[in-house]
Structure formats: C-alpha cells, structure tokens
Amino acid sequence: MNNQKKFSKIYDQYIDKIYRFVFLKVSSQETAEDLCSETFTRVWQSIDKGTKIENPQAFIYQIARNLVTDHYRQNSKAKLVSIDNCKEIEDNQPNLEEKSLLMSDINRVKLALNNIKPEYQDIIICHYLDDLSIPEIAEIMNKPKNSIRVTLHRGLKALKRELS
C-alpha cells in the first residue's frame, strides 16, 4: 500500500471522531477545523517520513490532544459555546420542533462537558462517543487501565452533577 492510500484510509476512518473530539473540547467550528487539519497534516508528514505507526488510533488521538493543549496554552481565555457553533450538527431531523429540542439537549450536554475537568472530558468522549475501550484509552492517555476506569466513573458523576 502506498503512502497516499495508507493516509487516505486513516483519514476516512478517523476524521469524524477526531473532529468531534476536538470540537467538543474547543467549542468552535473554525478552531476545531484548524486543529483537525493540523492533526492530519502531521499524520501525513509522519507517514511520508516513514515513521512506523503501530497504533494509528492512539497516534492520532495523541496528536489531537497535544494540539488542543497547545491551543489552550496559547489562548488562555476559556471560550464559551454559542448556539451558532452548532450548525455542523447534521440536519437529519424530520421536524423543526424535534430538532430544536434535540439541539438544546445537545448544547446542554456540551456545556456540561465543557464545565468538567479536561481529563474527564477526554475519557468520556473517547469511551462513550468514540466507542474506545478502556485499554485503548489507557494507551492514548499513557495511564494504567484502572486509573482510566476510576477517572471515567468520576467524570460521569461530575457530568451528572452538571446536568442536574
């Protein structure tokens, strides 16, 4: 498989997940797109350089996490989520009333997610949204599995508090 095909496969497989992961953390479509684009540019450069990527999933998530961290370091001010940022949600709802309800529900969860610790956010997004197993998250976060389990449990509790 040549490098372009290799990259193409990885890109198609992870673009949605990585975008969602980044978007939920930065809460801005433009920033999420920029960071996502940078993540995959780095993946492409690594493939081009011939770097052996044993676990593409962990590799991409690690790049994305680092970029988000760098982004927050550069812009120390926390950003609030606005309704305008929800236009990327696919318009697949049959009626306007349902759509409006769902969007407000989604925004509530998003805001709640933004209010909990970044560590909880990462694990909750990876586990419940991106369907990653505990060992997979442990590899991405470079932490023991037990620690991930405990953090996930605490994260859910924190999110529950925020939502109630």
Binding site: S37, W44, K49, I106, L156
Partner: protein
C-alpha cells in the same frame, strides 16, 4: 438523572460531524502539499548555501561577524596552502611567517631545538628542489639553508651559556648529527658545498663549552672504574679538540 440517562445524552453528541465539503477539501489539501522528502530533494546545493547566509540579510549586525569569519577562513586557507611552498614560490614568505612565529614562541631552552628542526626542514626543501631539478628555486633554497644555519648558530651560542641540561644536549646532538648527514646528501646531489662555517664553529663551540662543564662536574663526582675510564677517554678527546666524540662519551657516562 440516572447514569444511563447521562450516557444516553452523551451518545447524542455523536451527531456532531464535520462539514462534508470541509472533510473532502482538507484531505485533498493535505495530499496535494509537497512531501517533505520531495521538498528536500528539490533544494539544490546553491539554495542551501544561500539559505545558510540568508540570516545575514535579516540581521545586519551579523555582517562584521561574517566578514571576520570569511577573512579568518581565507587566512587559514592561505597558511595551510603555503605549508607546501618551496623557496622562490609566491607563498613562501607566508610559510616563513608561520615558521618565524614558531621560533619566536619557543622558550630560550627550546629555541635551539626548534631552530635545528627548522634547519632540517630547510635541508628537506633543498633536497626536494635538487631532486626535482628546479633550478629556478635552487639559489633561494641554498640561501635559506645558510640563513637558518646562521640563526641556529646564534641560538646555540646562547644555549651553551644558559642551559646545561643533559637531555636537551642529547637531543641537540642527535639533531646535529642528522643535519650533518642530510647536508652531506644534499651537497652530493648538488655537487656543491653549503656555507656552514659559522654553524660548524658554533656547534663546535657549543660542544666545547658543554664538555668542559660536564668534565668539571664529573671530576667532583664519585665514579666507578668503568666511568673513570670513560671520563679519561672524554678528556683525551677534548684535548684533541674532538668535542663531539667527547660529548658522546660523557652522555654515555652520565645518562
């Protein structure tokens, strides 16, 4: 709100997806960017050279540093290249500067040794010129040898007065003997004599002073019968004005 409800709500966020046009465009954009390997290959040597110096374009205060570095490199290059020059060559004066610097920097004790090494070097140059039949350089080379020999003679006169170290005397004696052989070889090739009168006198005087002093010192020392015999032989050689041989006996006896 139960934990299950929270999870269900989280799962609703799965509807967040990137814009389809952005996904396609980004992929195309990334893939259309020149590869790092291609970029590296396309950079020519000339571009790399210019790139290396581009820093000076943006930082004018570095220009004097660049000028100094270039001059320094140029001087190093000239001095290195001049080391192969022979008497009569254009760069020979540059070579002489470095040789003179070496002599000037040597201590009074080391100076005769350095001068003798220089004499050997000059004889080597002369041998090379003679062997390569470079008539144009021959006169300068002979003059150079004679000049250095005179300078060596001056140094030797001083060393006999200020220094009486046996090890240095031994080294000087070895070098003098080597020079003598080398000189004879060159004279054979050239079928002419090198004017070394002053040098020979100086060597002789150096040996004489040295042997005289050593004999006096040895006379005050307790010697065994073998050493007594050697000292006696040295004295006889000294009386016959064969100072070189006398020195050889003394050095054998003492060191």
């Amino acid at each position: 709100m139960t934990e299950k409800e929270v999870i269900r709500k989280i799962k609703e966020l799965q509807q967040i997806k990137p814009r389809k046009d952005w996904v396609i465009l980004t992929k195309a954009k990334i893939l259309s960017e020149p590869l790092i390997s291609e970029k590296q290959a396309s950079v020519t040597i000339g571009e790399r050279f210019l790139e290396a110096f581009s820093i000076f374009r943006f930082r004018p205060f570095l220009k004097p540093a660049l000028a100094t570095a270039v001059c320094f490199c140029f001087l190093i290059g000239v001095f290195s290249f001049a080391q192969n020059a022979l008497p009569g060559d254009l760069l020979y004066s540059v070579k002489k500067i470095s040789e003179q610097a070496k002599v000037s920097l040597a201590s009074e004790t080391e100076k005769p040794k350095v001068q003798l090494e220089l004499t050997q070097k000059k004889l080597d140059e002369l041998t090379k010129i003679a062997e390569e039949n470079r008539g144009k350089n021959l006169a300068s080379a002979v003059q150079e040898v004679e000049k250095v020999m005179r300078e060596t003679a001056e140094s030797l006169k001083k060393v006999a007065i200020v220094e009486n170290d046996g090890e240095i005397a031994k080294e000087i004696k070895e070098k003098v003997e080597a020079i003598e052989k080398q000189k004879e070889t060159v004279e054979e090739i050239l079928a002419t004599k090198i004017d070394s009168e002053e040098y020979d006198e100086s060597i002789n005087s150096y040996y004489k002073t040295l042997v005289e002093r050593e004999i006096k010192e040895l006379e005050d020392r307790a010697l065994n019968s073998e050493q007594e015999e050697l000292l006696k032989e040295a004295k006889e050689l000294f009386d016959d004005e064969n100072y070189q041989e006398a020195l050889a006996k003394i050095l054998f006896l003492s060191y």
